[in-house]
């Protein structure tokens, strides 16, 4: 089977790095030509369906599958009684316990909606019907439905997230102006357009997995470890992904179930999670709460910040949604203290969702800063500028680049902030109150090595080959642009092959780290390939460029020539033909020279080689400032966002069109977070009762106003090889507080618990 057909793009209007090239694979997607994981035409498929627990805690005593097994078309029922013989795979860091069995369908019930059985049948409909015939007997134990449950307790302090300097409590007590507030965010979910699921097929001890993935290599490693087969025996294919937002970075239990069923049956198996199962089979953003106290002088100079936060986690793993992540670095403050706890509850372990940590953290600190501004009677913009952090007070390191000041001032200018009237409830249009608010955001620059292959083909086409993925953020496009620029060719002369664990290793598309990482590798491989070609062109006796006397060559306008036009100019295909070459293939990675094969494997399949934002000389982050206008119908409590201006410092933009699209996407998710999104939990049984798209509301087009985005960044070559900082995560960070602050300005009501639904304002 041809897995990745050659791709061409349409408009080659601006195909160099930094150009506004349209989406490389856009035509394929809008014409239905892009094949997603559940669409691969694999023959002889069987269909698997998961059965989930209906109690929040306890133990599966027995599963009566007799009726299900007798139902038409049923091939297999898997229950906790089946020992699949799997072993626990490595964690994110690449650490793995020795010989620890893994039970993707566990006997122990840890939350309501946990997968505990599976049915495989000849058709999906038959599997669904048979699943309803399964009768499970439980032994139920007491549960903790949420961290607001009185039985939840205070949770445990995450020591690695405790941070402080100066004497925050004392400075706070001495500060003439103090504010204090508790801010909370509910459980939120990814709601990617493409639900989770996979198609899986074994050929002997070789397995092929078609599954949406933010990290083809990392997920392939999990499959190999679960099943005890060599990494090379796993092929995970994921060329197109319908959105991930953090949910598709790790292989999940349902993948193990499908792969096991396929192996046992000797048939390929397709398993698609239902939309409701996408709310319980993996974790969204944890619910958070945080108490923030700020002390300041009467003229608004921060003296101290004291932060105490908590987030929900599951009863079987600690996943902190770090409420103190943005708090220490947004402002200059000499006395600081932050602590974060996790509170175990009977829920699926939470996971990363766009802007993890930074997002709820910014809701806290950016709401608190505006509360302080109003207490001081000061313009919130002025307060932020007045406390501008000249360096990173947490690490003590200088910023690599930090254009947050420009984001604030240029954003304010574009928004028309100077026309604001300070008093809450002072701006009105008919029976609508109008409010303006600011929210700043940040996300760290995370660096990781990657590998890439460049192939120059005899026909003059250039292939970029990488296992990196594109979930809509634009990897195809910017890699094509990078190769096009290096070889001086139009983008439509480039082919890009992505999303396959057999291809060269790449960082995860998460933490906004992929673009900077993979562009570095592709650029390095492409320039090496060009150097190789130059070497051949200047030295090979068959080369028409050999006698030009030049010591290098230029690549421009699709032609290769000596720098001062001495001698002929050739296209890539002409040169390749002259050299008698069918192909030049170059593989490069951005690991230190001499990295062993083992180190390379580790780099692509774990986070072991990932560098945090302050591990070098500098403190490196993306920054943004959002300006939101809301209109509130006070009688009804309804909030409509009528305008947003957001200014970003993400360093150099590799493709402004796609970056702006990603920023807008983040802002739109932020609107949902601010006004609509909330997993509602029935305290009696821990069930999320609105786990579907009719009841868990995300913004519609009608909820999205005009969004103006501005780039104020400058290239940051400390952050990445080509000067960019991350763009994907930061867009959402600070949106919710900007809207909450605007709602306060409009109504005089401070809503400290998201989302801002209408009953909170009437």
């Amino acid at each position: 089977m041809t897995i990745m057909e050659p791709r061409k793009h349409g408009d080659a209007s601006d195909g160099t790095v930094g150009g506004r090239q349209t989406r490389f694979e856009g035509n394929l997607k809008v014409t239905g030509g892009a094949t997603y994981a559940l669409e691969y035409p694999v023959e002889g498929l069987a269909y698997a369906i998961l059965v989930q627990s209906t109690i929040p805690a306890g133990r599966v005593v027995s599963v009566d599958a007799e009726k299900a097994l007798a139902a038409p078309g049923v091939l297999m029922v898997l229950t906790p009684d089946d020992d699949m013989g799997l072993l626990v795979a490595s964690d994110w860091g690449g650490n793995r316990p020795e010989n620890q069995p893994y039970y993707p369908l566990p006997r122990q019930v840890q939350y309501n909606g946990q997968s505990i059985a599976a049915v495989v049948a000849e058709s999906r409909e038959q599997a669904v019907e048979a699943a309803r015939l399964i009768c499970i007997t439980y032994e139920q134990t007491p549960h903790v439905a949420s961290f607001n449950d009185t039985a939840a307790g205070e949770g445990k302090v995450m020591d690695n997230l405790t941070s402080g300097w100066g004497d925050a409590e004392a400075a706070l007590a001495d500060a003439p102006v103090q504010i204090e507030g508790e801010y909370s965010t509910p459980r939120e979910y990814h709601v990617a357009m493409e639900p989770h699921g996979l198609t899986v097929k074994w050929d002997g001890d070789q397995i092929t997995v078609w599954e949406p993935s933010q990290w083809s290599h990392g997920m392939a490693r999990s499959y190999s470890e679960w099943f005890g087969i060599p990494y090379e025996n796993v092929r995970l294919i994921s060329p197109f992904i319908g959105g991930g937002f953090g949910s598709k970075g790790a292989a999940l239990a349902h993948g193990a179930v499908a792969a096991f069923a396929s192996r046992k049956l000797g048939r390929p198996v397709k398993l698609a999670l239902t939309r409701p199962q996408n709310f319980t089979n993996y974790g969204g953003r944890a619910a958070t709460r945080q108490r923030i106290k700020i002390g300041a002088t009467e003229d608004g100079i921060l003296q101290a910040i004291v932060h105490r936060g908590a987030s929900e986690t599951s009863t079987y793993a600690d996943w902190p949604e770090q409420t103190g992540a943005a708090t220490p670095i947004l402002y200059k403050v000499e006395n600081f203290s932050s602590q974060h706890r996790v509170v175990p509850v009977n829920a699926v372990t939470p996971g990363a969702l766009r802007g993890p940590g930074k997002n709820p953290s910014a809701f806290g600190i950016e709401s608190a800063m505006e509360e302080l501004a109003y207490k001081l009677g000061m313009d919130p913009l002025e307060l932020r500028l007045k406390n501008y952090a000249d360096h990173d007070y947490q690490s003590g390191k200088p910023w690599s680049t930090r254009r947050l000041r420009e984001a604030l001032t240029e954003g304010a200018e574009a928004f028309g902030w100077s026309k604001r009237s300070h008093e809450p409830r002072s701006m009105r249009d008919g029976n609508q109150l109008i409010g303006w608010g600011i929210g700043c955001g940040t996300f760290p620059v995370i660096q990781a090595p990657s590998e890439a292959m460049i192939r120059i083909l005899g026909n003059g086409r250039v292939e970029v080959v990488s296992g990196a993925i594109d979930m809509g953020q634009g990897t195809y496009t910017i890699l094509a642009q990078t190769a096009a620029e290096v070889f001086g060719i139009p983008v439509d002369q480039v082919e890009v092959h992505l999303g396959d664990s057999r291809l060269p290793g790449a960082a995860i598309a998460g933490g906004s780290m992929l673009a900077g990482s993979i562009l570095g590798a592709v650029h390095k491989a492409a320039t090496a390939a060009r150097d190789e070609l130059i070497g051949l062109a200047l030295n090979d006796e068959k080369s028409p460029l050999r006698d030009t006397g030049a010591n290098t060559l230029t690549f421009s306008g699709g032609r290769i020539a000596a720098p001062r036009d001495q001698g002929p100019s050739l296209t890539l295909s002409e040169l390749m033909a002259a050299l008698g070459r069918d192909e030049i293939e170059i593989l490069r990675n951005t690991l230190p020279e001499g990295a062993t094969a083992q180190e390379q494997h580790q780099a692509w399949t774990s986070m072991a080689k990932v560098q945090g934002p302050t591990m070098g000389e500098y403190s490196m982050h993306s920054w943004c400032a959002h300006f939101a206008e809301v209109r509130v119908d006070e009688d009804f409590g309804t909030v409509r966002v009528s305008r947003i201006v957001s200014a970003f410092d993400c360093g150099r933009l590799y493709n402004p069109r796609l970056v702006e699209s990603q920023w807008r996407g983040g802002i739109i998710m932020g609107i949902g977070q601010a006004l609509l999104e909330e997993g509602l939990v029935d305290q009696r049984n821990g069930r999320t009762v609105n786990g579907n798209m009719g009841d868990y509301l995300v913004p519609t087009n009608a909820d999205v106003p005009h969004i103006e985005v501005i780039s104020v960044g400058v290239p940051d070559y400390g952050a990445s090889a080509l000067g960019g900082k991350g763009v994907g995560e930061v867009g959402i960070v600070g949106v919710a507080p900007a809207i909450a602050n605007a709602v306060f300005h409009a109504t005089g009501k401070r809503v400290r618990d998201l989302p801002i639904t209408l009953e909170k304002l009437i």
Binding site: E125, T638, L680, N685, R687, L697, T700
Partner: protein
């Protein structure tokens, strides 16, 4: 999904006859049936497809009123020029409902019969107790997450709200459901749960809605449907109001007023007490505000839905002021 047999009816009589079988359900646009079959709530043994019945999709509007065939699509009715002119509230209630895709599929008859969005009704595996689904089994919503549940017309057995919009406008303007052999007002067509929440309408097995008629009136011509919700589009009402108003010749005194509420009650809720309080009165913001509060007479909250009791009268008041030309 359970296997079912499919039967395409070629006449209304044939459809009625087929629907008499136990386990038979009519299929029109399918937007409710398919959804609830996937949830395991509806388990038809036979699906009787009525979408090919001739003549049931017609929309006619004349001086006496409108007749809307049961198979007319929501979108067609919403966009019908005659409906828009004579019954703006009806048109608006439809265009503010669902999404464009659903409005293109869903029929008017099916729209009236849409089922509640009560989360507990929709998840039988996790919440077996539901009197509506399984009489005598209990009510899981009581004591649960009740933000979207009804505050009017509830009983000890059921607090599920009627989710639709169109029926609210129809109730306001004395629309009538035609069931082939008999006719009944939309108001009487729907039932409050009482002790039989499984019975939501007076529709008998083997009966089928064939058309809806709406009498023309000056109040219907000067009407609006106001729908309030957190999301701008594609969400059920937190509270809604269909209001129509006719003034006396002085242009200030109320001759005829119609008020119905959605999103707050177990059925489309005609607020006759509000109408009575304003009929014959000079319309002013003050009289409207006081009268609108009457809409919540008898309202009972169940925790999180308490806000509806505060919100609904405001929605009613705004809608009245709007058709009265006061906002």
């Amino acid at each position: 999904m359970r296997d079912f047999s499919y039967y395409r009816a070629s006449s209304a009589d044939e459809a009625r006859h087929a629907a008499l079988q136990s386990g038979a359900m009519l299929l029109a646009g399918g937007t409710t049936l398919l959804d609830l079959a996937k949830c395991g709530v509806m388990e038809p043994e036979t699906v009787v497809d009525i979408t090919h019945l001739p003549g049931l999709g017609r929309i006619t509007v004349d001086a006496g009123g409108a007749t809307i065939g049961a198979l007319a699509k929501m979108g067609e009715v919403a966009d019908h020029a005659g409906i828009r002119a004579a019954f703006p509230a009806v048109s608006e209630s439809l265009s503010l409902a669902a999404s464009a895709q659903l409005r293109n599929m869903a029929t008017i008859g099916g729209n009236l019969l849409q089922r509640t969005r009560c989360s507990y009704f929709r998840e039988p595996d996790v919440f077996p107790a539901c009197h509506k689904r399984n009489p005598g089994s209990g009510c899981s919503a009581l004591g649960g997450v009740t933000r979207n549940h009804a505050v009017l017309g509830t009983s000890d057995t059921c607090i599920a709200s009627y989710p639709g919009d169109l029926a609210v406008a129809l109730v306001a303007f004395d629309a009538v459901v035609e069931l082939g052999g008999r006719t009944i007002s939309v108001d009487d067509f729907f039932l409050t749960p009482g002790n039989t929440p499984e019975r939501e309408t007076v529709l008998e097995r083997g009966e089928m809605i064939t058309a809806i008629t709406v009498p023309a009136s000056a109040a219907a011509k000067n009407s609006t449907y106001l729908k309030v919700r957190d999301r701008q589009s594609y969400e059920f009402a937190a509270a809604s109001a269909a209001v129509g108003l006719e003034f006396e010749a002085d242009g200030r005194t109320v001759r005829d007023i119609r008020v119905a509420l959605g999103g707050v009650a177990t059925k489309p809720w005609r607020a006759r007490n509000v109408e009575q309080a304003l009929t014959g009165k000079v319309l002013s913001p003050e009289t409207v505000e006081v009268a609108s509060r009457l809409a919540m007479e008898g309202a009972v909250s169940h925790g999180a839905n308490h806000y509806k009791i505060e919100l609904a009268p405001r929605v009613v008041a705004r809608a009245i002021l709007k058709v009265g030309g006061l906002v």
